[in-house]
């Protein structure tokens, strides 16, 4: 029967998106409007807080997901409200993961990674910091870019336990 939403999202052919686990999956879809970022922030904070991550991790995760959402809305969808941005969140004992998906033109990641926004050329540039912020604040950031059919960003944060060295790349 046709429903307002599918029971579960269809499985993806994107390598970086794991099979759906409906008992842990939280899905969120918004129109491409910048003002939705404030709502996204509250949602992510509530989710990560509920999952008992420490305050620094809550901020790092919310900040990073806002950067990914900003890119999807601005660069992926050129703020065309009718293009939806899809978020998928998954919490487990050790990690918080998010996938952020747009349907935009994609971009060349190696060009972005070749400039250091904290170096002398980058520091006073008014753009080019979003992906850098995600990579510093999260433990893993992966991109699946399919030219002409959008970008999926996968963000992962590990739960820091007492005495842990900051995990990372």
């Amino acid at each position: 029967m046709s429903r307002s939403h599918p029971t579960n999202p269809p499985e993806s052919n994107r390598m970086i998106i794991p099979p759906v686990d409906p008992s842990r999956e939280i899905l969120f879809t918004i129109p491409s409007r910048l003002e939705m970022l404030a709502v996204l922030d509250q949602l992510v904070q509530a989710l990560v807080h509920q999952a008992d991550f420490d305050e620094d991790s809550v901020n790092a995760i919310a900040t990073s997901i806002i950067e990914a959402g900003t890119n999807a809305i601005q660069h992926g969808h050129d703020e065309k409200a009718e293009l939806p941005v899809h978020f998928r969140f998954r919490v487990d004992a050790q990690t918080f993961e998010a996938w952020v998906e747009d349907q935009g033109p994609g971009f060349d990641l190696s060009t972005v990674l070749s400039t250091d926004p904290t170096g002398p050329e980058g520091l006073l540039n008014s753009r080019g910091r979003g992906i850098y912020i995600m990579r510093v604040m999260m433990d893993e950031v992966e991109f699946d870019i399919q030219s002409g059919s959008g970008v999926v960003v996968h963000l992962l944060k590990r739960r820091h336990t007492n005495g842990d060295a900051a995990p990372g790349a």
Partner: protein, 113 residues
């Protein structure tokens, strides 16, 4: 984002509230700064006390405003930033670009000289 502006002595104070994220926010900040510069005020303090977060587009707004004011012989300073916003400044090393003050008195006195 909402915006208010004051002139206190030599300093222009721009108070933001909500979130700072580019788009229409950028225009509002630019207009406020242009208005201050037009009346000769080039020592400008941005009060972020009521700003819950800034994204990288919002950082861009602050940087271009900083350059604009510096070109007029002035400076753009920040005050009262939250821990969350501080961490985005540290991560991006923009803490080496902007002077940041904990309270209004010290921010204003840095503009007086």
């Amino acid at each position: 984002m909402r915006i208010k502006q004051d002139v206190l002595g030599k300093a222009g104070v721009i108070r933001l509230s909500g979130q700072l994220m580019g788009g229409p926010d950028a225009d509002q900040v630019r207009e406020a700064i242009a208005a201050l510069v037009a009346q000769g005020t080039v020592q400008i303090v941005i009060d972020l006390n009521d700003v819950s977060w800034v994204n990288s587009t919002g950082l861009g707004v602050l940087i271009s405003s900083h350059i604009l004011v510096a070109n007029q012989g002035g400076a753009l300073k920040l005050m009262r930033i939250s821990k969350r916003i501080e961490s985005i400044f540290t991560v991006t090393r923009l803490n080496t670009v902007f002077q940041v003050f904990d309270d209004e008195a010290s921010a204003l006195s840095s503009c007086a000289g």
